[in-house]
Amino acid sequence: MQLTLEFGGGLELLCDSVKVHNVHVDLQNGAEKLTMKDLLSWVHTNLIKERPEMFMKGDSVRPGVLVLVNDCDWELSGQLDTTLEEKDVVVFISTLHGG
């Protein structure tokens, strides 16, 4: 599945300072859909190069990291249960850096 992932608010520093990643994520064996939960673990394994604790806490994002799926707050779409589709755009923004 083709997805566009965007990291902002300082999170880009955890993945080689690259803000926008066009990625291809394969479904797990036998899975019919890709959820945000799957995507987070994929990002953790494949994109985050340092300090993963700045991005994740448990199996979700660290509190203070905002997530938007197609420019919509993921709190409206079920957070970890949000189902992703081809060409979706997922944005991660940290609010934890200085003001």
Binding site: G9, G64, L76, E86, S94, H97, G98
Partner: protein, 355 residues
């Protein structure tokens, strides 16, 4: 079209609960309402306007310096204040005021953001540097003192630098971008430190009214999440890199705790602020008396202000001067007010958020 379809599917076709027409784009932490972008801009700006009016933060004709770091909060503050100033005829003269601490690879980059903001928002910018004011950059200070206590120097110097810059600009007031999350965090930190003097004033929306230049916090009730969402949706240009010298450990714990609470119950942030506001300090608690520094005239509860003591240490090659627990402990009720105040600074990790 494809994007539009998937969007509607994911949001469950939820409509904005204010206009009932457009699709909701975010969930407000303050009210849990699901609202669209357009309604969000409106309620976000209007709430800040109400806070400004109800608390009489500004008077017509005043000159106001916006403490601008290039970060998300001050960038959104500069944008929203100039917008509200136009829309509601505040008749304010707005300025951007930035501090150059002299931190290569951090502040020089963020100052570039502020310089762009100067052009984007049409607000005159004044930059004052530690080098000019004190003869030292933070890079030079760190070379002498290392990575311990450097945030003490930076915090003490910044507070004065903002005041000095403000008096150069001849402004009546400084507006800072401290948001609700910052204030809740500071309430907790002051409780954890037993810093009664700061606890009692950290929730005030305006401080220093008895001093030369008062400061106010128009974002006192504004959630960090909404500030960042606003900046994202409006594509505002801000800088977000952590200071290269800041370990910020103690504040970091408080921050994480607040964010954990927010996830479970977003109201917690406003409730902590409310608790802070309603603390009644017992009359038997001795509070530090405010005077003036004998050397530079800056407000101080000691003979010499903290900046002068730190600077003397640097210049005499004794950088530990003014650092350390030499003046008694906060938790010792028998110490007098001056001593209580004496320890409150050196335990701080980073002064960016000091009030």
């Amino acid at each position: 079209m494809e994007k539009e379809d998937s969007k509607s599917k994911k949001a469950g076709g939820r409509l904005c609960c204010i206009c009932n027409q457009r699709r909701a784009a975010l969930k407000r932490p303050k009210t849990l309402e699901q609202i669209c972008r357009e309604c969000f801009y409106e309620v976000f700006e209007e709430e800040i306007h109400q806070v400004i009016v109800e608390n009489q933060l500004f008077k017509p004709g005043e000159r106001i310096a916006i403490g601008a770091s290039g970060g998300k909060d001050s960038t959104v503050l500069a944008y929203v204040l100039s917008e509200l100033n136009r829309r509601h005829n505040y008749s304010l003269d707005l300025f951007l005021l930035s501090i150059d601490e002299g931190i290569t690879g951090y502040r020089d980059d963020s100052l570039e953001t502020v310089k762009r903001n100067e052009i984007q928002y049409g607000l005159p910018l004044k930059i004052v540097s530690y080098k000019d004011l004190y003869g030292w950059t933070m890079d030079e200070i760190v070379r002498v003192i290392g990575l311990k206590n450097n945030c003490t120097f930076c915090g003490v110097f910044r507070r004065q630098a903002l005041d000095r810059g403000a008096s150069l600009l001849k402004v009546d007031k400084i507006a800072t971008g401290h948001n609700a999350d910052d204030i809740a965090e500071t309430v907790l930190l002051n409780i954890l430190r037993g810093d009664i003097a700061r606890l009692s004033r950290c929730t005030s929306i305006t401080t220093g009214e008895d001093g030369p230049i008062p400061r106010c916090k128009p974002f006192k009730y504004t959630y960090e999440k909404e500030i960042v969402m606003y900046a994202y949706f409006k594509r505002l240009d801000y800088f977000s890199t952590e200071c290269i010298y800041s370990p910020n450990a103690y504040r970091g714990f408080a921050r994480e705790f607040i964010k954990d609470l927010e996830r479970i119950r977003p109201r917690a942030i406003l409730d902590i602020i409310k608790s802070g506001e309603n603390f009644r300090i017992s009359t038997s608690t001795k509070m530090p008396e405010q005077g003036n520094c004998e050397r530079c005239g800056y407000i101080s509860s000691q003979k010499s202000c903290k900046a002068c003591v730190l600077l003397e240490g640097l210049n005499r090659g004794l950088p530990k001067l003014g650092i350390g627990r030499s003046r008694g402990h906060n938790n010792d009720g028998r110490k007098d007010g001056k001593q209580i105040n004496g320890t409150s600074i050196e335990s701080k990790q980073c002064g960016t958020l000091d009030f």
